[in-house]
Each structure stands twice: as structure tokens, then as C-alpha cells.
């Protein structure tokens, strides 16, 4: 499947764009996506943390992704 990944903050800088398309086999998880992104963009490894939100909720690594999900990279937050 083709996933549209949205990025904010430093994740956007690392990807070089606020949105990228990623090809992932059907049935793959959030953990698989993170592994693939960290292999392609090694600067992600240097972050204090990197979470994924699926449909506006924090997702665990075991969450299975589908092509219609809204998938957003959440680097360390710093509001306030």
C-alpha cells in the first residue's frame, strides 16, 4: 500500500517536506513504518523520541496500518 505520511517540527525538516509517500506491504505495523523511515532517514535515530499518531491518536508499534489512515510523525513535543 501507499501511505501518505504527514510530519511536523523537526520530522518535517528531516523528511525535507511536510508530507511524503511511503510504500509499505499490506498488514505492516507502525513499528515497521518507523524502522523503514529510520533506515531511509538516519537523522530520526538522533531524536529524543519519535511517535506515530494514527487518526489523531498516539499509536503503539503493534498498530496495523491501512492505506486510509491519517499517519502523522510526532517528534518530541515542546508546547507551552
Amino acid at each position: 500500500m501507499e501511505l501518505n505520511i504527514i510530519a511536523f517540527g523537526i520530522a518535517k525538516d528531516i523528511l525535507g517536506s511536510s508530507q511524503v509517500q511511503v510504500s509499505l506491504a499490506d498488514g505492516k505495523t507502525v513499528g515497521d513504518l518507523l524502522e523503514q523511515l529510520k533506515a531511509s532517514y538516519q537523522d530520526f535515530e538522533r531524536l529524543a523520541s519519535l511517535f506515530v499518531a494514527v487518526n489523531e491518536e498516539y499509536a503503539s508499534n503493534e498498530t496495523i496500518l491501512s492505506a486510509t489512515d491519517e499517519v502523522v510523525l510526532i517528534p518530541p513535543v515542546s508546547g507551552g
Partner: protein
């Protein structure tokens, strides 16, 4: 009530939103833009948010606070965009019958907001810029 705004926050309206005749206390936290970080001059802060999720996560903080303290009303408003030194980035207001609970709930809210709400700030210096807290 929670919101993300692109304009300056009207403090009085946030306070009025939590006023209640049942309460003897309103506690307000105001987060403002500091002129320096670790001794280095900051020119401004740029905030951005994943807005729909940020609103949901701020509402979760309010729900958790309601479960812990006898809160009458609670509001969180966060600003995004480019903020100058001294400008207000976030306002949290909470009203309770007695003061101890409003102090505690307000502190809980700002501490949790900084950990869970998808909002990011970039410090702009004369010689560069840094996403706050991005690296260990």
C-alpha cells in the same frame, strides 16, 4: 474547553470562561516567550501544532484533571505562529471551590501539556534555529 489560536490570546476572556459562583478560586497559568535560553539571546519562537490532535489531547488533560480534583470549569488555549519576546503562548485557567485544587490542577495541566500535546516550538537565534527538546 480547549482551543488553538493563531491570534493573541485574550487573557480576560479565558478567565471569564471559568468563572462560577460555586468557586472560591481561579488559578491561571500563563506561558510567555522568554528572551534567552541557556544564556543565548532568543529573537522569537515559532510554534506549530497538529491542531485536531492537539485539541483532543488538551481535552484529555482536562478530563483527567476532572477525575482527580473537584473542578468546576477548566480551559486551555494555546497559540501557534510566530511569537515575539514577552508574548503569551499558552493560558490555562481552572476554577474550583477551594484554592488547593486549582493550584494542583493547573500545574498538572501545564506539566502534562508539555509531555503529550502535539505542539512544537522552534527557537530563533541570530545565528540559527533549534527545535526545542528534539535531541537528547
Amino acid at each position: 474547553m480547549t482551543s488553538i489560536t493563531h491570534k493573541s490570546i485574550d487573557l480576560q476572556s479565558v478567565i471569564e470562561a471559568v468563572q462560577s459562583p460555586k468557586c472560591g478560586a481561579i488559578d491561571v497559568f500563563i506561558g510567555t516567550v522568554r528572551e534567552q535560553t541557556k544564556g543565548k539571546a532568543v529573537l522569537r519562537l515559532d510554534f506549530e501544532a497538529y491542531e485536531p490532535m492537539a485539541i483532543k489531547e488538551m481535552q484529555k488533560i482536562i478530563d483527567r484533571a476532572h477525575a482527580q480534583w473537584p473542578i468546576e470549569k477548566m480551559t486551555i488555549v494555546h497559540r501557534v505562529g510566530s511569537l515575539a519576546i514577552g508574548e503569551v503562548a499558552v493560558v490555562i485557567a481552572v476554577s474550583t471551590p477551594h484554592r488547593a485544587a486549582s493550584f494542583a490542577a493547573c500545574q498538572f495541566a501545564i506539566d502534562t501539556l508539555k509531555e503529550t500535546v502535539p505542539i512544537w516550538k522552534k527557537e530563533i537565534f541570530e545565528d540559527g534555529e533549534v527545535w526545542v527538546a528534539a535531541h537528547p
